[in-house]
């Protein structure tokens, strides 16, 4: 594998000398996201495989190009999971892409995000130097938290080679419940229940129904089910469809907006909506006007992202001037030649 790293280093150094953009890519399952996809592809799949995994450590380390599927199978053999329930968005999604995108699935509001579970990374910077941050232990505050910074950076700050994440035992049992209600009532219910000691692991409101998933010890799940009521639904297909956006709600959406808000925010009336995470994540379809989306999100103490779009767009997220300057300076500091995915996340960096 060291020859693969050498190859990567040469590619990066040559790009840096020429100031030519590089597009770090696994299977391309998240190619839909962002503004520009410039440069020669650096395919991470050449660097694949599990590096270290001992179930009793709750720590899992694998190379960036490892198929996410393989990661989850290895964990499942030991009854463990990636607690942030990442979306794949394609059959061949890689582990590196999963962390670089930083997307989290239905369990996020209860267990934490992809970023939360990152413990350490090994990466190449724009000089091709081999760097390690964080580690393979549960707690590590030596130096700035560069590893978590990599989550959600979409390969724009460096090439992540290996990632260590904290993993957890999967639940003993799961049960999904369905309740008919309107959006306001659902937002209220999700938040009220989240404030009670219930074994919640997912909530979603769509098509006049609230779906709630309970996970944990059998005794706790059945006690909670008795308390909450609702109609029991078999299986995990619903949550799969929400996570992978195969649910009919997402079908033929020209544009898909993702609004991350204060969870109790009232319904926004910006278009057809699917809410998750106790109401703090709202997916909105329809060609919502940029400024209006941004402004509505800000007034609900959050922000909006144009998650998928059919057209070329000027921006997918809005940063205020102070944060824009800081983001830009950080990108310049870590990638002075500007070779890693320039302008994928923002027109100005």
């Amino acid at each position: 594998m060291s020859d693969v790293i050498q190859q990567f280093q040469e590619t990066i150094r040559s790009a840096a000398t020429r100031r030519a953009p590089l597009r770090i890519r696994g299977s391309g399952s998240k190619d839909f996201y962002g503004l520009h996809l410039d440069g020669d592809i650096l395919d991470t799949r050449a660097y694949s495989g599990i590096v270290e995994y001992e179930a009793t450590e709750l720590v899992f380390t694998a190379r960036a190009g490892t198929p996410l599927r393989e990661v989850q199978e290895a964990l499942a053999e030991n009854g463990q999971t990636l607690p942030f329930e990442p979306p794949h968005f394609g059959p061949d999604a890689t582990f590196g892409g999963c962390i670089a995108a930083g997307f989290s699935g239905p369990r996020r509001a209860y267990q934490g995000s992809a970023r939360d579970f990152v413990l350490g990374v090994r990466m190449l910077n724009s000089s091709g130097e081999d760097l390690r941050f964080g580690g393979q232990v549960m707690k590590n505050v030596a130096g700035y938290d560069v590893s978590r910074l990599m989550a959600g950076s979409f390969g724009t700050l460096g090439l992540v080679l290996e990632i260590s994440v904290k993993v957890l035992p999967g639940p003993e049992v799961e049960q999904t419940l369905q309740f008919g209600m309107d959006e306001s009532a659902a937002i209220e219910a999700m938040n009220r229940w989240a404030g009670q000691p219930l074994p919640l692991s997912a909530t979603c409101y769509v098509d006049k129904s609230l779906y709630v998933r309970l996970s944990g010890a059998a005794s706790a799940v059945s006690a909670a089910q008795k308390k909450l009521g609702g109609d029991a639904i078999e299986g995990d297909a619903f949550w799969y469809s929400v996570r992978e956006q195969t649910h009919p709600f997402f079908a033929d959406a020209k544009s898909l907006w993702r609004l991350s808000l204060k969870s109790t925010s009232a319904p926004l009336a910006l278009g057809p909506t699917l809410s998750e995470w106790n109401g703090s994540l709202r997916w909105i379809t329809g060609a919502g006007e940029l400024e209006r989306m941004y402004a509505s999100a800000v007034s609900a103490n959050g922000h909006a992202t144009l998650f998928r779009s059919g057209d070329d767009v000027a921006a997918i997220q809005q940063l205020d001037i102070g944060m824009l300057t800081l983001n830009k300076k950080l990108k310049q500091a870590l990638d002075p030649e500007g070779i890693f995915g320039p302008r994928r996340l923002h027109a100005l960096f």
Partner: protein
């Protein structure tokens, strides 16, 4: 990467005189918020790492965010170094004053601004005590999860700056996992809102970056924390072992059984002995190691989990297994653990509390080697730690009034930290690097990684005015340290003082 001339210096000096600094600060602060007489400065000379003391030029104690901003603007213009201080309970010297700088204390920003029980968030000022948040939220059946043992005293601002943990962090995460947003002021006075009231924010994850940055990137002036529903029930199991190795294996077996306890702590015989003398928690005195293993959740979950834990502990060869029968018993068992540091402080005037974190499977190996080093350095070391996370807290005991003991204690501490790195761990799990572990950063990181840290520092603080000489060593320091440093184990005459 940052160019070499960008590297912060450890010896920054202000561009203005003390008199001028006092004059400028007095125009932005009320009189009672500005201390500059020796006797007023003295109480701020150290934090929880009492072996190191320094007197700052002045102490500024602003009353609100606007004043914090104004102080930073004055310092930025006059190129005056600044060290932030929360409650001063830090154990790595992060809040140790800088003799040519301002010590900026946040103790007067101590209001809980807002609790929103339905959204389960609280907005608080940085000087609020950690425990005060849970106290205020309890009427809503909510609490703030990270619970450092210092929680009755330490500030939430300090917790953010250190990314503090606590006994419940195995299950509920560290500070970084339990905050949503901060208001943050950089040295030039720019006020930023980092994070959001949703679960994520646009752009890079700067909230993760500033959490744990030890006052080197800016000051936190407001924090939005996440609140969790208080568990209906909590119960703790105490298990005694006649061998540290068996106790360490029991820890691995609990995790291996798919249990994530709310807390999983270990104390060795020296620690339990000290605690018993101090508060009498009812710990078994003859045990080589004592585990505290907590379960929380609904009645059903706790009942299930406690019975599974008990099985594992018995199978692992515990000589005694005791389950708390009521809340009073549970709190008493935890009170012992939470007072372990002061208890050890009673036995010996001074101690270094180390904070290395290791892969759990290395527990018994590392504990054995720490014990062996007691003879090498002729000092005692008690161990009390977050076993579930592999986060050790060896307490190296010494008398700081004896220079030789202090010197040996420093070397003992350094040797333990390097051992942690050697077995694949880190020099600090939750207390931060500060001044205490600055040299060991050179062991954990290579030049190229340190360069990345310096480049990040430069983005926030190009003149290197914030907390100079802490947390991230200069390359020059590492070069000097490397030249005189001989790795532990290879050292032929460990008792000979070097330089």
């Amino acid at each position: 990467m940052g160019k070499p001339e960008h590297f912060p210096s450890e010896t920054a000096k202000p561009a203005i005189s003390k008199a001028e600094l006092v004059r400028r600060l007095s125009s932005v602060l009320p009189e009672a918020s500005l201390l500059h007489e020796e006797e007023d400065l003295r109480p701020f000379e150290c934090d929880g790492l009492t072996a190191y003391r320094k007197i700052p030029l002045v102490v500024a104690l602003p009353e609100n965010e606007r004043q914090v901003q104004a102080v930073l603007e004055v310092c930025h213009r006059g190129r005056v170094p600044v060290v932030f201080r929360g409650a001063g309970t830090g154990l790595s010297g992060g809040a140790l004053p800088y003799e040519h700088g301002v010590l900026l204390g946040l103790s007067k920003l101590k209001n809980i601004l807002d609790i929103d029980p339905l959204a389960r968030i609280a907005r608080v000022q940085p000087g609020v005590r950690n425990a005060a948040i849970s106290e205020a939220a309890s009427v809503h059946g909510l609490y703030y999860a990270p619970d450092p043992s210092s929680q009755i005293a330490c500030s939430i601002g300090g917790n953010v700056a250190e990314n503090s943990g606590g006994v419940h962090c195995l299950k509920y995460g560290l500070t970084v996992h339990n905050i949503m947003k901060v208001r943050f002021i950089t040295i030039d006075g720019e006020l930023l809102e980092i994070g959001g009231e949703g679960f994520d924010a646009p752009g890079y994850d700067l909230l993760a970056l500033v959490t744990g940055s030890e006052g080197l990137l800016g000051v936190v002036t407001e924090i939005t924390v996440k609140l969790l529903p208080s568990p209906v029930k909590a119960q703790v199991v105490l298990a005694a072992f006649d061998d540290i190795g068996k106790a360490a294996d029991a820890v691995a077996n609990i995790i291996g059984a798919g249990i994530v306890p709310a807390g999983l702590e270990m104390m060795d015989k020296k620690a339990t002995g000290a605690v018993e003398q101090f508060i009498g928690a009812g710990y078994p005195l003859d045990a080589e190691a004592t585990l505290l293993c907590e379960s929380d959740g609904t009645e059903e979950e706790v009942a299930d989990e406690i019975s599974r834990m008990t099985d594992v502990l018995n199978t692992a060869g515990a000589t005694e297994v005791r389950i708390s029968r009521n809340e009073a018993e549970r709190l008493k068992l935890w009170a012992g653990r939470k007072s372990a540091f002061p208890a050890v402080g009673r036995i010996q005037p001074d101690y270094f509390c180390l904070d290395g974190t290791i892969p759990r499977k290395q527990l018994s190996n590392v504990l054995k080697r720490i014990e062996e080093m007691e003879t090498t350095f002729n000092l005692q070391c008690a161990n009390v730690f977050h076993a579930g996370d592999g986060n050790l807290h060896p307490l190296v005991m010494f008398d700081a009034s004896d220079d030789d003991q202090l010197h040996r204690a420093e070397k003992y501490g350094a040797a333990i930290l390097e051992l942690c790195v050697e077995v694949g761990g880190t020099i600090t799990g939750e207390h931060g690097v500060g001044i205490e572990k600055i040299n060991q950063m050179c062991v954990q990181f290579q030049t190229r990684e340190l360069n990345t840290f310096h480049a990040i520092k430069f983005v926030f603080d190009e003149h290197g005015l914030l907390n100079p000489g802490k947390a991230v060593p200069t390359l020059q320091r590492c070069a000097e340290f490397g030249a005189m440093h001989v790795h532990v184990g290879e050292e032929k005459f460990p008792d000979l003082p070097r330089f």
